[in-house]
């Protein structure tokens, strides 16, 4: 092959690869920069007091304890609603659903649910749970809304986990006289739990960081005490961060970054946990 065009092609390649590397670096550095900014400017505010005391002086001082508690309670309740329903739906799709129009419709619905804007979920939660069901702005309304929002995440992860269990396990169980449900319960589900767990953790991480769905369904800016029941309003970290960074002047910068840092750490550590668990179980797998 003649040398000139080849050398030109190699030159083009070198330039192209440099650009690709540059592009990837921009993306990677952006991620690092965002996380870095928050860590560097926020870690100064992190202290035991910050995490465990109530806010004071109109949010300008004190801690973010109620926001942390609110987020934890909200997310916990969300999982209680979303996990059983999501796993059941995944079981339906993998073990019971026939290959027909109804199943295709179900899958289409799931794809769409995962694309609905978070603020539309907020409107839905407002219309259905707060107003129609008369739950009012409460932990109940907020967690039901969030549960519906993370349902596609849990269904997709659980479905993948169930499909990864070899078909032969089901055959063996059936051949030993088990019914279809017994087979799912004893020879499929236990081996799908790692995948379901990682999917749930990712769903929790998502629910913890979302603001729009809780804006009209549960979030309060300031509550003098912690919620007593699921019908109470609650404070939450994402909403808190939004308000103190856009609505309230004169909050010390460290306070703002500190709140952002707590939220970021919560969400990222959940994600890292999911990744680590996924790798761990893949390695430990015996089939």
């Amino acid at each position: 092959m003649p040398a000139e065009p080849w050398r030109r092609a190699l030159g083009v390649q070198r330039a192209a690869f440099a650009l690709l590397f540059l592009a990837t670096s921009v993306v990677a550095l952006a991620a690092v920069a965002v996380i870095g900014f928050v860590i560097v400017r926020g870690c100064g505010a992190l202290s035991w007091a910050f995490l465990t005391t109530m806010p004071s002086n109109g949010m300008r001082a004190g801690g973010i304890f109620p926001a942390i508690v609110g987020t934890l309670e909200l997310v916990g309740l969300t999982v209680v609603f979303a996990l059983p329903m999501g796993v059941a739906a995944a079981i339906y799709l993998t073990e019971y659903a026939a290959d027909n129009w109804l199943t295709r419709l179900v899958r289409l619905a799931i794809v769409n649910l995962s694309g609905v804007p978070s603020v539309v979920y907020g409107l839905f939660g407002l219309g259905l749970f707060v107003a129609f069901c008369r739950f009012g702005t409460s932990l109940l309304s907020g967690s039901l809304t969030l549960a519906i929002m993370i349902l596609p995440v849990i269904i997709t992860a659980s479905e993948e986990a169930l499909r990864s269990v070899p078909k032969s396990f089901r055959e063996v169980s059936l051949s030993l006289g088990a019914s279809r449900w017994q087979t799912i319960r004893h020879s499929v589900l236990p081996f799908a739990i790692p995948g379901i767990m990682t999917g749930t953790i990712l769903g929790i991480s998502r629910a913890a960081g979302e603001t729009a769905p809780i804006l009209f369904t549960v979030a309060a800016f300031y509550l003098p005490r912690l919620p007593h029941s699921i019908f109470d309003q609650a404070m939450a970290l994402p909403y808190h961060l939004y308000v103190i960074s856009t609505q309230i002047p004169n909050i010390p910068t460290a306070q703002r970054y500190g709140t952002a840092l707590v939220l970021l750490l919560l969400v990222l550590s959940l994600n890292v946990l999911a990744v680590v668990l996924r790798a761990h179980f893949r390695q430990k797998r015996q089939w």
Binding site: A28, S114, G115, V120, G127
Partner: protein
């Protein structure tokens, strides 16, 4: 044995109900949006709503034209797409074809982490770091502009674009690469002329899902675009998106008022747009797989 069978039938019934629940939920969302949103159209015509150039919900009489909001969403989305699509596809190519070993794993994890950052945190950084920067660089009265929104949202779209494109590239049979190289192509020529074309529908799906993510984004865009509900004239001015409007104004609206219904009507528009984007993207993704 008999009551065991009865109990099992109950469990299987519950599973069936949960299985088709997603259809019910989508239908419910649509119904509730319509229920509240359509109430607006008793007072305002659909035309005046969709093409009206003025969004003054609290003036007397109120005007509910969403055109400025739709255009605001479009401008910010367009800007984000222009930034994120080339960067995203380029990164996906790099990660899938060039990066090796631990670097590849590190980059993939980095993208996953970027995707996990809550939008309110990105909005926070946008307000505290990016907006002052833009204000300085362009000598503007305020750094809260459409451009700021586009840049912030580009970071939210990039992980989606990168991971789906990367999936599409990895799914291509090795034979494509080997055949191209065996015919004397350089690796870049193979990537550019063969792989990108072959993964075409997957890439289109990735971009569409990225667009869907950006259009639907609320908090980050609300915090950095300045919230001026006017027809956008340039990227360096504040704008208002549909999502930000709902989020910002719902808190001050009386339930059952026309303003309340108008916000739900915007929700219908958003729902329909995201529905359409997702259906089309899903079609492209499945065309790719078969």
């Amino acid at each position: 044995m008999r009551w065991q069978r009865g109990r099992e039938r109950l469990i299987e019934g519950a599973i069936w109900v949960c299985g088709i629940s997603s259809i019910a939920i989508v239908a419910l969302i649509f119904v509730f949006l319509l229920k509240e949103g359509f109430a607006l159209f008793r007072v305002v015509s659909v035309g005046a709503f969709l093409w009206g150039r003025h969004w003054y919900p609290i003036s007397e009489p109120p005007q509910f034209g969403v055109l400025p909001l739709i255009l605001g969403s479009c401008w910010v989305t367009a800007g984000a797409v222009i930034l994120s699509v080339p960067l995203g596809i380029a990164s996906a190519l790099f990660i899938s074809e060039i990066a090796k070993g631990w670097a590849k794993e590190a980059l993939k994890t980095g993208i996953e982490l970027l995707a996990a950052i809550p939008s309110v945190v990105l909005g926070f950084i946008g307000v505290t770091v990016l907006a002052p920067l833009i204000k300085q660089v362009f000598h503007l009265p305020t750094g809260l502009t459409a451009l700021t929104g586009s840049i912030t949202l580009a970071f939210m779209a990039m992980p989606t674009i990168v991971s789906i494109t990367e999936d599409a590239l990895t799914a291509l049979p090795r034979g494509y690469r080997e055949a191209a190289l065996a015919l004397g192509a350089t690796r870049w020529q193979m990537m550019n002329r063969v792989l990108l074309r072959a993964a075409g529908s997957g890439i289109v799906a990735a971009v569409m899902l990225g667009i869907g993510r950006v259009i639907g984004e609320t908090m980050a865009v609300m915090m950095v675009t300045g919230n001026a509900a006017v027809i956008p004239r340039s990227l360096l001015h504040p704008v208002r998106t549909m999502t930000a409007t709902i989020a910002a104004e719902m808190g001050e609206t009386v339930r059952g008022s026309d303003h309340y219904f108008a916000l739900f009507a915007i929700g219908i528009v958003l729902f329909v747009i995201s529905f359409a984007i997702n259906v089309v993207a899903d079609l492209f993704l499945h065309r790719e797989r078969t």
